[in-house]
């Protein structure tokens, strides 16, 4: 290894990163690291370089791959059977989730996998779901080979514990909706065509001959499948609501549908008119479009994850003779020895057998700094090992571990949060239904007294037809669907459009600290003491670079240096400090006691700083120079966000970490909120329950598994993720880390959306009133109905689309991509 490297401004041909440290050249092309070069070589040899033509620098950066997952378990037939869709003789079919899929090139490369491995018979990508479906010939290759090949080119599949025994769910639920819409659209178009002569014929002379009978019969034949198949969901739902003595919006819709159909059939059969079959089929068609909008989901995001999608699928177990073999997690028994490597997760509660290990619990407990664990101490499931590999003895089965206990809490047993969601439309539909029936009845009575039975019935049905709340039914899905799109453009992905209402009602906002307000990777590192020259910074950085301790890594990132030396000697006392000789300069970094023992300084010479955060002392050539103060960095824009929010909401900080940063956050949070530290996951959950009992609508923002209970319990749980396809605990919405400063605008926007719904209600009621005027006076011709009904639906669609975007723009949100 060279001791120095030159900074270059070249851009990696594979992944597009700046080649900041050492650029590797191959084929006259620069690469930022050997990983990228290797990936290029593989593609070049297989003639797959079109990969680079489709998109600019499409590759996945392989430099920062902290660890390489091991796929020993893919040799185990039992595991393969349990994660695959089917496996017979030598054909294996399975679906892999690959979070790294991000562009056209990725799709192209993954669908050309057979050129890399002849054993792959078929490969297909679903881009939105980030899924790769494979058909593998197991006689020619093994699954492990295919997966490892994928890893070398940068597409590491995520195979997690929850994939065991779950057949990949194919999305069939949407298909029947498409079919229903197809049938309704087909009938709508054809009936319109047949009714066209009637539209033009105002004299009432008709076409003559048998045409009215012929067209009438055709209309009934075409409308029947629409009634029986396409509208079946509405009729069923209305029937279910009525049999439970409730009224939802589907009740007035169903009344309208039935009135339309029965009256049309009656008119056609008695040859008294042409009927309203065009309006009927058009109505169903528009309603189904609304339903399709409503069903929009974010396929690549998963909102219902629990610990099983966080843990790996298997671990390496040591048998008596010390040989490693992989065991799937559900087969893991207490009292087995397991070996973990850097960045691997502890699957169940265990005891450490190695001398020392560093565990990163930030995702589980919220502690920001990794913890040093001594031999014999207990390690809790979910911790991530950082640094050297370690040997552990399992204590509990996976299902009985500390981490998994949270999921036994009653909050996770029921899902009534979603069942409780009722739309504004559902709330007013009882009144609406009563009003419509009342108007229909009284106007019918009036006509009965003045003109007789026939016109009375005709007016009665006309009122039911025209008051059918089609536009009302569309206003909620279209407004919220539109709001959902706007929010997702701005980085907030909401699970269900009805949940936006919960967000709009927010009164308390609860934040987690570690990973939410602070960013785990970025840290604020300041040096206090005698200022370091550029030369000295280089020496310190060169020394720190060799250490794996998280604090020295942060110091390394903070120091500016264009090149690095290779230390002559380097010693690290784990958890204490490092001692290195760089270019004949003695660098000593670490705790007070370590510096005292290494350099022979008396402990008076080293101050005990009053600093909220971690401290690393530095001495150069035995001379004390000062200390690095390390605070986990607060995300950009957070102070402004908290400042603007504390006026309107009660804001709380709920952290599992110690209170080192308490002072700092006190000034950001409102006087009616509070800061709570050292909270266990259950305590967080209880705190949310407590707030809700005092009548608050709670929005919880968190990121880790320790927030899982609180996120689930809160009225609107937002999981923050820097990489939205990475693991996020069960929640109502996933928010991109960079978009957190916009939270205030999101809440304002959701409030505006609620107002838009009411405005579009008024708009559609306006159409209903105009229609009613026609109906009561007995002038509702099929032509008026055919114009008025689609017009009201379309204008509600346009109105909601335009206004949601207008309000989003006013709040400074993106409305276009």
């Amino acid at each position: 290894m060279n001791s120095t490297a030159v900074i270059s401004s070249e851009i990696c041909y594979h992944c597009g990163e700046d080649c900041t440290s050492e650029a590797v050249h191959f084929d006259d092309k620069p690469f930022c690291c050997t990983g990228c070069k290797a990936a290029y070589q593989i593609l070049d040899e297989s003639g797959l370089c079109s990969y680079y033509d489709l998109d600019v620098n499409p590759g996945i950066n392989l430099k920062n791959k902290k660890h390489r997952a091991r796929f020993d378990y893919l040799e185990d037939d039992e595991v393969i059977i349990r994660i695959s869709d089917f496996w017979d003789a030598n054909k294996l079919s399975l679906t892999l989730y690959i979070p790294n899929i991000h562009c056209t090139s990725c799709v192209w490369l993954l669908e050309n996998l057979q050129k890399l491995d002849a054993g792959v018979l078929q490969s297909g990508v679903n881009f939105l779901k980030r899924e790769l479906s494979l058909l593998v010939d197991t006689e020619q290759t093994t699954l492990r080979n295919v997966v490892e090949q994928l890893v070398t080119i940068g597409y590491e599949p995520e195979i997690r514990f929850d994939k065991l025994d779950t057949q990949t769910q194919k999305s069939h639920q949407n298909r029947s909706l498409w079919l229903k819409m197809g049938v309704a659209g087909f009938a709508f178009g054809n009936i319109m065509l047949f009714s066209f002569p009637d539209y033009l014929d105002t004299t009432g002379s008709g076409l003559g001959g048998n045409f009215p009978i012929f067209f009438g019969a055709l209309n009934i034949i075409l409308a029947l499948p629409v009634l029986l198949y396409s509208s079946s969901d509405y009729l069923k739902s209305a029937f279910a609501a009525l049999s439970q003595r409730g009224v939802n919006l589907d009740v007035p819709i169903s009344i309208g549908i039935m009135a339309l159909f029965c009256r049309s059939v009656y008119e056609i059969l008695t040859m008294t008119g042409t009927g309203y079959m065009d309006s009927f089929t058009g109505l169903i068609f528009f309603l189904l479009i609304g339903k399709l909008v409503q069903q929009k989901t974010f396929h690549r995001l998963s909102f219902d994850r629990d610990y099983r999608s966080y843990l790996p699928i298997a671990v390496n177990v040591l048998n008596e003779s010390g040989e490693e073999y992989s065991v799937s997690l559900d087969k893991l028994e207490p009292n087995q020895q397991i070996r973990l490597r850097n960045q691997e997760l502890v699957p169940c509660d265990a005891t450490l057998l190695s001398e020392e290990a560093f565990m990163d619990y930030s995702f589980i407990t919220g502690e920001s700094e990794p913890v040093a664990i001594k031999k014999g101490a207990r390690i809790f499931a979910g911790g991530r090992l950082t640094g050297n590999s370690a040997l552990l003895r399992t204590e509990e089965k996976v299902a009985n571990s500390y981490l998994t206990k949270l999921w036994n809490h009653e909050t996770f047993q029921n899902n009534d949060k979603e069942l409780k969601l009722t739309t504004f439309a559902d709330k007013i539909s009882p009144y609406f239904t009563v009003a419509v029936l009342g108007i229909a009845f009284f106007s019918g009575l009036y006509w009965l007294q003045t003109a007789g039975m026939e016109p009375a019935l005709s007016v009665f049905t006309a009122v039911l037809i025209i008051a059918c709340p089609c536009a009302l039914a569309l206003s909620t899905p279209f407004t919220l669907g539109s709001a959902l799109n706007v929010l997702s453009l701005n980085g907030l992905f909401v699970k269900n459009h009805l949940l936006i209402e919960n967000l709009s009602k927010a009164s308390s906002i609860v934040f987690d600290k570690t990973g939410t307000l602070t960013e785990s990777d970025s840290a604020e590192v300041d040096f206090f003491g005698v200022e370091l020259s550029a030369q000295e910074q280089t020496w310190v950085k060169s020394a720190c670079k060799n250490s794996i301790h998280p604090l020295s890594r942060k110091v390394t990132y903070a120091l500016e240096s264009s090149f690095l030396y290779h230390p002559k000697s380097f010693e690290e006392l784990p958890g204490k400090g490092i001692f290195a000789d760089v270019e004949n300069t003695l660098i000593c970094l670490g705790s007070r006691s370590f510096l005292a023992s290494q350099t022979g300084m008396s402990s008076e010479e080293i101050p005990e700083p009053n600093f909220s955060g971690s401290v690393v002392h530095l001495s150069i050539n035995g001379q004390y120079r000062g200390f690095f103060g390390i605070k986990s960095g607060i995300r950009n824009g957070i102070p402004d966000l908290l400042h603007s929010m504390k006026e309107k909401f009660s804001t709380y900080l709920l952290s599992g970490d110690n209170d080192a940063q308490k002072k700092e956050f006190t000034k950001y949070l409102g006087t009616n909120g509070s800061l709570l530290f050292n909270k266990k996951p259950e305590e967080k959950l209880d705190f949310i329950t407590h707030l809700q009992k005092s009548g608050e609508q709670v929005v919880m923002v968190g990121d880790g598994l320790n927030d899982a209970g609180a996120l689930k319990k809160s009225d609107f749980g937002i999981a923050l993720a820097d990489d939205i396809s990475s693991f996020a605990p069960a929640c109502d919405a996933i928010l991109e880390g960079d978009s957190l400063p916009n939270l205030n605008n999101f809440i304002d926007f959701s409030k505006a959306s609620m107002k838009i719904i009411i405005a579009s209600f008024v708009l559609s009621l306006l159409y209903n009133t105009i229609g009613l005027a026609f109906a009561i006076t007995g002038h509702l011709s099929p032509l008026v109905a055919a114009i008025l009904m689609p017009l009201s639906s379309i204008s509600v669609m346009v109105f909601t689309f335009v206004t949601t975007r207008y309000f989003a723009r006013k709040r400074g949100l993106m409305i276009w991509k």
Partner: protein, 62 residues
């Protein structure tokens, strides 16, 4: 005017064929993933490596 009976019959038949095709398309999963096929359209079928390098050359010339 009696020809209209036949014409309507034919037009319905054609419409029914399209409805049938729509059913087939939905049933074979063509509406399940509406995004990836739009990306696949961009792929050229370049089988041999030599062709590819010529293509690259052309790109650079442009």
């Amino acid at each position: 005017m009696e020809v209209i009976y036949m014409l309507i019959g034919f037009s319905l038949l054609v419409a029914l064929i399209f409805l049938g095709l729509f059913f087939w398309a939905v049933k074979t999963g063509q509406f399940d993933d509406q995004h990836t096929p739009s990306m696949r359209v961009l792929f050229d079928d370049k089988r041999s490596t030599s062709k590819k390098s010529i293509h690259n050359q052309k790109n650079q010339d442009e």
